[in-house]
């Protein structure tokens, strides 16, 4: 219970407890003005003790003095000192000076006086007596005071004494205390202790800080008391984790989330007798659901229970009059259940007690439109195949009768009903009480014009995919979707529902028309066309100065050699229709603007070991120089130049994201970014700790995230990390190839448009959708030297192991035949067939 706050002008009964608005100041931990520095303040003088302004301990200033021949005097400081409990102690000290007194004639000591809560003195204690200080020497009197039982507070003071016949003055100064003082007591509240009820004053009283002390507040006398209370502290037994768990999708599955175990439960009614039908009515505290030739109902007020005997059960509608057809619709009429099938309705009395349910009547007026049923005034309206009909009670009798309220609009409703029946759709009925209207809605009628849309995009021979011609509008059911004229490309299969699959088998231009017919006989057509090509889209390369590069079609067809390269470049690149050949370790470089018919040399490229990787951006071609600086040349025919020198321009791999270039190297072991096409570089943090790396370092990007593959020369681990800030910072290692070893290093990293793929020396492939979660695939190909992708195919040039390709993002690979002269495939590039040479 919270203690109420004191209020002004309020009637308080004896025993009422309040807490102050303004809490009293905490009790002192030091006597106030113990050295008289503030003058005659906060002191009580008794006996011969008096305040003087000279002769003090400090600087001959203020102090207490007692003239001679006065037997005794006391300067008692007014500060109330509260110690926590009985038996607690504190120290008090004071300085005494006997002036010209002879030894023993005057005396002085520090004194502590203990008072109870009524301010009555109950005990005093003395410190050591200073009785010999002739010559004006100051001596200290010291006391360890112990709180006696019943004491509320103590006051400290300086006591002085003189024999009767001695006339010399004695001085005291510098009263001080030390120890542990109580501050405000725990749970300090105030209890009304006056004998009768009374009103509080208009202003808050000065609340005493000491337990047991009282203060008068108009009619009320408040006494400081300690409230005893129990403090409850709640702490959670179950705390969810910092991230959302991966929820199980199986009913009964568990997932751990912090200290909580979550169990997946079904939100469906799991009772096997629940028919899970859409023909549902709630009546008599039960749920009724049509179930073919019966109507099941749940237990009373428990829709989860469809089994308990004598509570849940079913109405045997199929065993009654007009029961031959399955239940198709249900409604309520005057608290009775109306069960429709296509031929008639049965009227059932329903009740919480199954024993009280009974068939009342049946009439041959059917409906299959469950959602059209609505009570209107004294009737039940519903849509039947003839139009809108109703059930009512015959005038002046209690016989049920069928009404033909909808007859005026039958010619309008009937054709719609027929069309909706064919389409398997339902009319919606509703009573709109505030307008007094029954609304019957035929959604989607009149229908939008029948339309078929779809487009088989062109492609390359061997390319496969799926899609759909979508039919909208019109009246269902639709006919099969089929080609009505023209010639679709060989390898295209169109299914009856409009879905299609293709695996182009022949090159050529194709045009055809697909059509569909709806239930009303309306025909919709869509003209489609596709160009299937089989031009060269791959540029493959092996070593050898006199060897050509090879141009290959997508999947089907043979490789054609280009002109002899004239240089021993191993990598192949195609950017914007221009072919490039570069080498990872030598200055070999050529380019071609005419699909390899002639190779051009822009001059010597200073490429050293672990260089040769290329990128284009901003009208330049870039090639990594290995330990030499990155090279660039203006497209199409500019000479090589080094826009920047120094270690920051060293690159083992390069990529471009828009106009931003990112390079990485093993030394310095970081990524660097340039937004001025290689003139200046900004370095990020090291991607690998401590020791240097070796082997290939590869980076890849999806246009936003960058992943890096590097080999650690201490552990031989092939590690992958990623960065979302262009290499300024890197994640911790997210994947390492198994079996680290000097012959099992990572060699290539690639993003194929959907998946990230990583390759190592022994032909293992790992892939990831986000560059964070990696999966080692159960395949082995050769040691990839270069990887390229286009139109759903990933192609890996695996040196002497040959050329491998995958149509499922690296999950499975097949070997592709290459020209017999190409025994070592070290370069592969995708040639965008839509981009010509320049």
């Amino acid at each position: 219970m919270a203690v109420p706050v004191w209020n002004p002008g309020t009637l308080y009964r004896p025993g009422d407890i309040v807490q102050p608005i303004t809490a009293p100041a905490a009790t002192a931990a030091q006597v106030e003005n113990g050295d008289f520095a503030a003058g005659n303040v906060n002191w009580d003088f008794t006996g011969g003790a008096e305040f003087v302004t000279t002769g003090g301990y400090s600087g001959n200033g203020n102090c207490v003095r007692m003239p001679g021949s006065v037997p005794e005097g006391l300067a008692l400081n007014k500060t109330k000192l509260v110690v926590p409990s009985t038996g607690s102690t504190f120290e008090a000290t004071a300085m005494i000076q006997q002036g010209a007194s002879i030894a023993g004639a005057t005396r002085g000591w520090v004194e502590v006086r203990w008072y109870d809560s009524s301010d009555l003195l109950i005990l005093f204690e003395r410190g050591n007596v200073v009785s010999d200080g002739s010559g004006g020497a100051w001596h200290q009197s010291k006391l360890t005071a112990t709180r006696p039982a019943g004491a509320a507070y103590a006051r400290a003071g300086i006591a002085l004494f003189s024999v009767a016949d001695h006339t010399h003055a004695i001085f005291g100064d510098n009263l001080s205390v030390s120890g542990t003082f109580a501050g405000l007591p725990d749970g300090l509240v105030y209890k009304a202790v006056q004998p009768e009820s009374g009103f509080s004053a208009s202003d808050e009283p000065a609340w005493p800080p000491i337990l047991g002390q009282q203060v008068i507040d108009n009619d009320v006398i408040w006494e400081a008391v300690a409230s005893t209370r129990v403090t409850w502290e709640a702490s959670p037994l179950y705390v969810s984790g910092s991230v959302e768990p991966v929820w199980p999708t199986e009913i009964g599955g568990f997932v751990r989330d912090g200290t909580i175990d979550w169990k997946a439960v079904s939100r469906r009614v799991e009772d096997p007798n629940c028919p899970n039908s859409k023909i549902v009515v709630i009546a008599a505290s039960k749920v009724f659901a049509g179930d073919d030739d019966i109507v099941r109902y749940s237990a009373t007020v428990n829709p989860l229970d469809w089994t308990t005997p004598d509570d849940a059960g079913y109405l045997p509608t199929g065993l009654q009059n007009y029961g031959a057809n399955p239940v198709a619709a249900m409604g309520l009429y005057r608290s009775n259940l109306v069960v429709f099938n296509s031929e008639a309705f049965q009227l059932w009395q329903v009740d919480e007690d199954p024993a009280s349910m009974a068939l009342i009547d049946a009439l041959p007026l059917g409906s299959t439109q469950h959602r059209s049923i609505a009570p209107v005034a004294n009737d039940l309206f519903f849509a039947s195949s003839q139009g809108i009909r109703s059930i009512g009670i015959a005038a002046s009798s209690t016989n049920y009768q069928a009404g033909d309220v909808g007859m005026p609009i039958d010619p309008l409703v009937e054709p719609i009903m027929r069309l909706m029946k064919g389409a398997g759709e339902q009319a919606l009925g509703l009573y709109y009480p505030s307008a007094g209207q029954y609304w019957l809605c035929f959604p989607g009628y009149p229908p939008a014009p029948l339309k078929i849309v779809g487009d088989v995009s062109g492609g390359l021979v061997g390319q496969f995919g799926t899609g759909k011609y979508t039919v909208v509008g019109g009246i269902k059911p639709y006919s099969v979707v089929a080609v009505s004229s023209g010639t679709p490309p060989p390898g295209l299969t169109i299914n009856a529902d409009g879905t299609y699959a293709y695996s182009f088998a022949e090159a050529g231009s194709f045009a055809w028309e697909v059509s569909v017919t709806d239930a009303q006989g309306t025909i919709a057509k869509v003209a489609d066309s596709a160009v299937v090509g089989n031009e060269a889209v791959w540029l493959a390369r092996g070593p050898g100065a006199t060897s050509p590069a090879y141009l290959g079609p997508y999947k089907i067809g043979t490789w054609q050699p280009t002109a002899s390269a004239g240089v021993a470049a191993r990598y192949a690149w195609a950017f914007g229709g221009v072919f490039h050949l570069s080498d990872p370790a030598t200055t070999a470089y050529r380019y071609s603007k005419n699909q390899g018919q002639t190779w051009l040399n822009p001059g010597s490229a200073s490429i050293s070991a672990s260089g040769g990787r290329m990128a284009v951006a901003g009208g330049y071609s870039f090639v990594c120089g290995g330990v030499n600086p990155l090279l660039r040349r203006a497209n199409p025919d500019g000479p090589w130049e080094t826009p920047a020198t120094g270690t920051n321009a060293r690159a083992n791999d390069i990529l471009s994201i828009g106009n931003r270039l990112v390079i990485v190297a093993s030394s310095p072991r970081n990524a660097r970014v340039s937004t001025d096409f290689g003139v200046t570089w900004t370095a990020g943090v090291d991607f690998a700790p401590g020791s240097s790396t070796f082997g290939s370092i590869r980076i890849a990007t999806d246009g936003a995230r960058i992943a890096i593959l590097y080999n650690d020369n201490l552990t031989f681990g092939s590690n992958i990390k990623y960065s979302d800030d262009f290499g300024a910072t890197w994640s911790s290692t997210v994947f390492s190839f198994p079996l680290p070893g000097s012959s099992n290093l990572g060699v290539e990293l690639f993003f194929d448009g959907v998946y990230w793929l990583a390759f190592n020396e022994t032909g293992r492939v790992a892939r990831s959708l986000d560059a964070v979660e990696w999966q080692l695939l159960p395949v082995t190909i050769g040691k990839a030297a270069q990887v390229a992708a286009g139109k759903g195919v990933v192609m890996a040039a695996c040196g002497t192991a040959g050329l491998y390709w995958s149509e499922d993002h690296g999950w499975t690979w097949q070997k592709r035949s290459v020209p017999s002269a190409l025994t070592d495939v070290t370069g592969i590039a995708w040639i965008d067939p839509n981009v010509g040479g320049s």
């Binding site: 309206f381 909808g406 309008l412 409703v413 719609i416 509703l430 009480p433 019957l440 809605c441 009149p446």
Partner: protein, 163 residues
């Protein structure tokens, strides 16, 4: 689009009347909350508002819709005998276009719609010389303002039998 048939119960003698509406959007479902009727159409929720004269269509704003009242072909006396119509009066709210069907065969031929004010009773009869054995009156309200029809008078004179 969705087609609605609405049965309105009149307080006079509990007589009901049907009207037909074509909404310019599909209605997936509906519900009544308080006194209002709400319709769901895809991701849109529509509420019926009796103060508005048009339908709000997602992305196309409020679109007024035409209201049409047409009587069946009425003989106005002895069937088959040509009647001579010389004028009419209408009582209602909102400007209206009036058209008369004069040939009930083959879907009927109608006169060009003729716009008149909402209430034509004060003043002269609206002249409409027309002869036909049966007539179908068609009133069209263009939907740009609230409209209501109360009464319609035809001023006819029978011609000689078999004429």
């Amino acid at each position: 689009m969705s087609e609605f048939f609405v049965y309105s119960i009149s307080s006079v003698g509990s007589v009901g009347a049907w009207s037909r509406y074509v909404f310019p959007f599909d209605v997936d479902d509906w519900a009544i909350s308080g006194d209002d009727l709400y319709l769901r159409s895809g991701d849109d929720i529509h509420v019926l508002n009796e103060d508005l004269t048009g339908d709000e269509v997602s992305g196309a704003g409020v679109q007024p819709f035409e209201g049409e009242i047409q009587w069946p072909w009425l003989d106005f006396g002895q069937p088959g005998v040509t009647k001579n119509l010389f004028g009419f009066d209408i009582v209602g709210e909102g400007d209206v276009s009036v058209s008369f069907g004069y040939d009930q065969s083959n879907g009927g031929y109608f006169t060009d719609p003729y716009a008149v004010s909402a209430d034509t009773v004060p003043g002269m009869v609206i002249p409409m010389p027309l002869s036909a054995p049966s007539l179908s009156v068609k009133l069209t309200y263009n939907g740009t303002e609230r409209w209501q029809w109360n009464a319609f008078s035809l001023y006819l004179q029978d011609l000689r039998g078999m004429s």
